[in-house]
Structures are given as structure tokens and as C-alpha cells.
């Protein structure tokens, strides 16, 4: 009798289709943003065509009311969206994770105080907090927009971090680690952060999308990067007056924003599955 050959199931996480679609959509934006650093179809400020032209082979997304190429401006806008998204998530993540961990480890009254403060902050719309921060600074520029959105997002990150960390801290393996003499810092770095990271990463991606939308909103209101920075929000605002005669002006930057946010969210979903070995094994 021959022994049947056993196949051992692969434990490597399988990269899902979600992750691929997300990577392609986000990668497209990153590629366009990088390309626009060195090359754009036209001079973004030059009058390269008639006013409010419809899309054509020469002008893929038409021209604006000053005759500037719209696709060029959308390409440049992706730079701003990505920079603001990454910057705001970095600032919001750093502040939020620190505050959240502090609250999770703090004595009860400090935790209660922090939790209440966060709840109040979260009750304010992200955009409103961002507007307040911009209003408090001398001038609106790209950096104030990043800082404002980052601060506004940090409350959400902090609350999530606090809840996730508190839940992990209750588990036996934390007690086990403490009984074997692991210090608090060791517990945070070795056990808490890796265990809350998959959920946090998904949330960061979500925040990235929110930040891109918030930046567009701030720019739409004239509180973002000042012209001639071609933020998508600014493009939308400029296109508002001509939305009936040349709808492509509002449609194109909106579509760019939607593709970026959807791509980021899909990427986050896919990454979560890779980051969590217990999930990948179940598939």
C-alpha cells in the first residue's frame, strides 16, 4: 500500500482581489502625481485652448473658463490630495495613537477626562474643527490645511486607539507577559500596538480618504492651499458657476476624488487581511 501524499495548507496570506483593485486605483493616483512633478500635457497656467471647451483629444477633460487645460490641473490636484492625506493621517495618527494609549493606561479619572474630551471633540464635524484651526492661523496655506485636518482627525483616532488598547489589555496574554516581567513600554510595543494595528491601519486609510475630502472642502471654501495651487476642491469651486454649461468641470475633479477614496478604502480592506494572520488562515 502506498502512503497518499499529504498537501500541507499554505499559511502565507493570500493577496485578495480587493487589495489589487485598491492598489491599482491608488497606484494610478500616485503615478499621476509623480508624473505631474516632471511633466504635464500643458502649462497649467497657460491659455492653451478656447474657453470652456468640451473634452477632446487635445484636452481630455476640456478647458476651464480661462482656457486652461483641465486635465493638467487635475493631475496637479492629485499631488495636493495625496500630500494632504498622508500629512494629515501622519499628524492625526501620531497625536491620536499617543493620546489613546495614554488614556488606556491612565488612572481612572484621567481616562474619564480624556474620554469625555474626545467625545466632545468628535461631536464637532471634522471640517468645522479644521476651519477653526485654519482661522486661528495667520494665513491659509497647504501646511495649515494639513495641520488642521490632522488635528481634527486625531480625536477619532484617539478614541479608537483607547477602546482597542483597553480591550487588548484585558486579555490573558497581557497578564501573562506582565507576570513574566515585561515592562509597560514592552507591552505597548510588543503586544498592544501589533494587535491593534490591523484595525488602526484600516482606520488610517479611512482617515486618508476623509482627509482628501476635507482638503477639497477647505479649498472649495477658500481655506485650503491658495491659488494657483490646483486643489480639486478649488477646481470644483471654480466650476460651480458653469456647472450647467460645462458639467465636465465639476464632474472630473469629483471623479478623481471618488476614485482615490474608493481605492484607498479597498486597499485598506485588503491590507487588513494580510496584516492579520488569523484572518488569512480562515480563507
Amino acid at each position: 500500500m502506498t502512503t497518499p501524499e499529504l498537501t500541507i495548507p499554505q499559511t502565507h496570506p493570500r493577496v485578495s482581489a480587493t487589495l489589487w483593485v485598491g492598489l491599482v486605483l491608488v497606484g494610478l493616483h500616485v503615478a499621476i502625481a509623480l508624473l505631474s512633478l516632471v511633466w504635464t500635457p500643458y502649462d497649467p497656467l497657460g491659455m492653451t485652448g478656447g474657453r470652456l471647451e468640451a473634452p477632446s483629444w487635445a484636452h481630455w477633460a476640456g478647458t476651464d473658463r480661462l482656457g486652461r487645460d483641465f486635465f493638467t490641473q487635475i493631475m496637479l490636484g492629485s499631488q495636493i490630495a495625496l500630500v494632504v492625506g498622508a500629512g494629515a493621517v501622519a499628524i492625526g495618527g501620531a497625536i491620536g495613537v499617543t493620546l489613546g494609549l495614554l488614556a488606556a493606561f491612565a488612572s481612572r479619572w484621567l481616562d474619564d477626562a480624556l474620554a469625555a474630551t474626545l467625545d466632545i471633540l468628535i461631536a464637532f464635524p471634522t471640517l468645522l474643527i479644521a476651519m477653526l484651526v485654519v482661522a486661528a492661523s495667520d494665513e491659509a496655506n497647504l501646511f495649515t490645511a494639513i495641520l488642521a485636518i490632522g488635528i481634527a482627525l486625531s480625536a477619532i483616532v484617539a478614541r479608537l486607539t483607547r477602546i482597542l488598547a483597553k480591550r487588548v489589555l484585558l486579555l490573558d496574554y497581557i497578564t501573562a507577559a506582565r507576570t513574566s516581567g515585561t515592562s509597560w513600554m514592552g507591552i505597548v510595543l510588543i503586544h498592544v500596538l501589533p494587535n491593534i494595528w490591523p484595525t488602526l491601519a484600516v482606520n488610517f486609510a479611512l482617515q486618508f480618504g476623509l482627509a482628501a475630502i476635507a482638503e477639497a472642502s477647505l479649498s472649495y471654501l477658500g481655506l485650503g492651499a491658495p491659488p494657483p495651487n490646483a486643489s480639486w476642491g478649488h477646481l470644483l469651486q471654480e466650476a460651480q458657476g458653469t456647472v450647467y454649461t460645462a458639467p465636465i468641470g465639476a464632474f472630473a475633479p469629483g471623479l478623481a476624488l471618488v476614485i482615490l477614496v474608493v481605492g484607498i478604502n479597498l486597499l485598506a480592506d485588503g491590507l487588513r487581511d494580510v496584516a492579520d494572520p488569523t484572518r488569512s488562515a480562515q480563507r
Binding site: T11, S107, R108, L171, D172, Y173, T175, A176, A177, R178, T179, S180, G181, T182, S183, W184, G186, I190, H191, P194, N195, D276, P277, T278, A281
Partner: protein, 269 residues
Amino acid sequence: MRPVLDIADLSIAANGKTLLDKVSLSIAPGERVGLIGESGSGKSLTALAAIGLLAPGLTATGAISLDGQDVIGASERSMVSLRGNVTATVFQEPLTALDPLQPVGRQIAEPLRRRLRRDGEAAGRTDVAAGVQNLLAQVALPDPLALSRRYPHELSGGQRQRVAIAMALACRPQLLIADEPTTALDVTTQAEILRLLAKLVADNGMALLFISHDLPVVARVVDRVVVMQHGVVVEAGPVGEVFSRPQHDYTRSLVAAARSFDGALEGAA
């Protein structure tokens, strides 16, 4: 000889409610002590208090001395070094006692590296890796190299408990606290883990505090038992004496229950 753990008149209260009342318990180096009682009798609480891990909101009075150092009122910093050096704990549920996101080898490496540094031994990558393999072999896990790369969810319950024991051994503690280590396991695995624990405790000259509600299990691994009920020690003594001539009503009922269960099993067989 100075006891490894000496608890004297330990009382613990939460919001005015007494959870432990004047509990005293002493464990000499190398001694194996069983702590018996039903759920909620304060067994695990006593063990957590002994290593200074009481939940916030609980107040402890009395004296706890771990390797000659006071535990009650000690700073977290001094407790961190004391815990790994003197004690290590094996918990009831091995799945939750292991970090789900780390390969088990890395989880054993962490306390091992700390212990090697503490003892002034070489703690390079290869030293630690060799130590992990050695520990996995000590707890009788097959194919240590492959196993150390697995995640907890890829192991069986018995294997996980062996990994948890290996983590405890990595600290080379003077006192091993085993909190219901076999309760979550099936009977066959239970017997294997008990044999392993008894062997390791003897081989390494560790003291053992074995917490359980299961009399026959306790009787197999300890020299002396302490029986608790409602946060009070009701009886203590050598295991043979307590089980053959129980003095307290509660101990008597425990022994009778265990006997009738055995009787029922024999009757069925």
C-alpha cells in the same frame, strides 16, 4: 530556609465588599502547594495579589513577601523585575494566554532574552533561537523548529499549553504559578500536561503553586494543599492527610463529591 512566597493575613476588598479575609499561605523553595476551592473562592485573586497584579479598585491589606521583597505598596518598576525573576504563571485558557499575532517562537524568545540578559549570559540571535528550541524540546513538543514559526491558532489546545509552559520556563522562575492549567483541556491531554508539569518542576527545582477546583488533579502534583471557601482558608495540610481525614465541612463535601464521581465512573465501567 526563606520561603519563596509568604502571604500573611492578606485581605482584599472592593467597594467595601470583602473578597479575601486574612488569607495566609507560605511556599518554601521547591515545595509544591495546591490551592483548592470552587469558582469565586478567591484562589486566582490570591495568586494575582501575590505577584502584584491586582485590578485597580481593589485594596489589599496584610503582608505579601516574594523572595523576601514586599509586594504590597511596591512600585510598578520594582515589581516588573521581581515578577519575571521570581515567578512565572501558566493560565487556564492557553488560547487567550498567547498573543494571536506572533509566532510562538517569538513569544518564547521575549522572556528568554530578558532572562539571559539578567543572568549575564549571551543573548544574541542564535543564542536565543537555540534556547527557544531547547525549551520547546523540554516541553516535549515535536519538531521545535517548524513549530516555533506557527501562530497560536495553528496549534492544538495541548500544544498551546505546552508553549505557555515553555514561556514560563524561559524565565527560570523560583516559583511557577499554574492557574487551572488543565481545566480547558480534554482528559488525555490533561494527564500529559500534569505529568509534564510535575517533571519540569522536579527537574528545575522550582516551587509550584497549583490552583484548581479539581481534587484528583491537585492530589497528583502537590505535597500540601490549602483549601479556600468564600475568600477564607478553611483547611491546610499535607495532601494525604487533608484528603483522608478532612476536618472542615467544606473539604469533606469536596472529597465526598470527588469520591462519588469516581464511584459513578467505576459503576458505569
